[in-house]
Point group: C2
Chain length 145, copies 2
DNA sequence: CTTTAGTATGTTATAGTATAACAAGTCAAT
DNA sequence: ATTGACTTGTTATACTATAACATACTAAAG
């Protein structure tokens, strides 16, 4: 349920203090957290205003370390191992499975889907840049309970 | 660019006055509109407060007549012909291509992708309920300019 | 009728999400 | 020691969405 990323990044990334605080907080749960939840959690560390959180989220997002779940207005730390095999996934294709039961999120590599998406786009002459796929439903555990 | 749906629905749907106003306003553009843009547009028709808009959007969404674009916090009228062949698409799989250049949106049937998504989900034991796919990029027209 | 129940509407207030704009501190490289 | 790039702190405000309550319309049941 919990996993720590800390500072051991697979690539050089000079994490500033605020960026590290936010990333560590996100890494401590596989449940998405809203910007204001992060703010509450990090108040003791000296973060007091929304822009501090949003700036960190933007930097981390730009560097592929966190993802925004658009349908939940919440954020999660990127699990590199499953979403892009250890590489940065800033512009990669990921699929998010959001459990409406427990609130947990599974992040899965979606390169296989990317082909289909691009094929669809080509029929429109559309040049795809980023793709966001969010699936709502019930995780394995929540189906049995 | 503009298309009118008006009251000619392919199935019986008793559109209330407010629901019809919002649907017609959305149908007049292939660009997504925010709830507050809709509110501004419909003030002359007597709509003055956000709940009136959000209630209509919820009803229209529940009945498959409009979609929310999660990554844009905006709404579009469902184009039945392309997204689900004339049937209601409340729980169907649609793909949205959002042009970051002109702001236009293309809505495309994504049943082909649904299989892949469900297959991915099955490897996790995940029971998919609704899938939202939003692709950002450049439409054909905006690539040439 | 008129009562009731379900739906639709109107309205105020507030909660939740995100950014603009400005001020100031840090720190390495001239 | 000064510049310049980056990071941080802070206030105020904009944007998105819903809670809660009050009223009205309409069709069916009594």
């Amino acid at each position: 349920m919990t996993a720590s990323v800390s500072t051991a990044m697979p690539f050089s990334a000079p994490l500033s203090r605020n960026n590290k605080l936010v990333l560590d907080q996100l890494s401590q749960s596989d449940k998405p957290q809203s910007a204001y939840e992060l703010l509450d959690s990090l108040r003791d560390e000296g973060l007091r205003a929304p822009p501090q959180i949003y700036r960190a989220l933007k930097w981390l997002g730009d560097h592929g370390l966190v993802h925004k779940l658009e349908s939940a207005n919440a954020y999660i730390a990127c699990v590199h191992a499953s979403c892009c095999g250890g590489a940065r996934c800033a512009s990669s294709h990921t699929v998010f499975f959001l459990c409406d039961g427990c609130g947990g999120v599974e992040e899965v590599n979606g390169d296989a889907l990317a082909n289909d998406v691009n094929a669809l786009g080509k029929t429109l002459g559309f040049a795809a840049h980023t793709t966001n796929i969010e699936v709502h439903g019930q995780c394995a555990a929540c189906q049995t309970s």
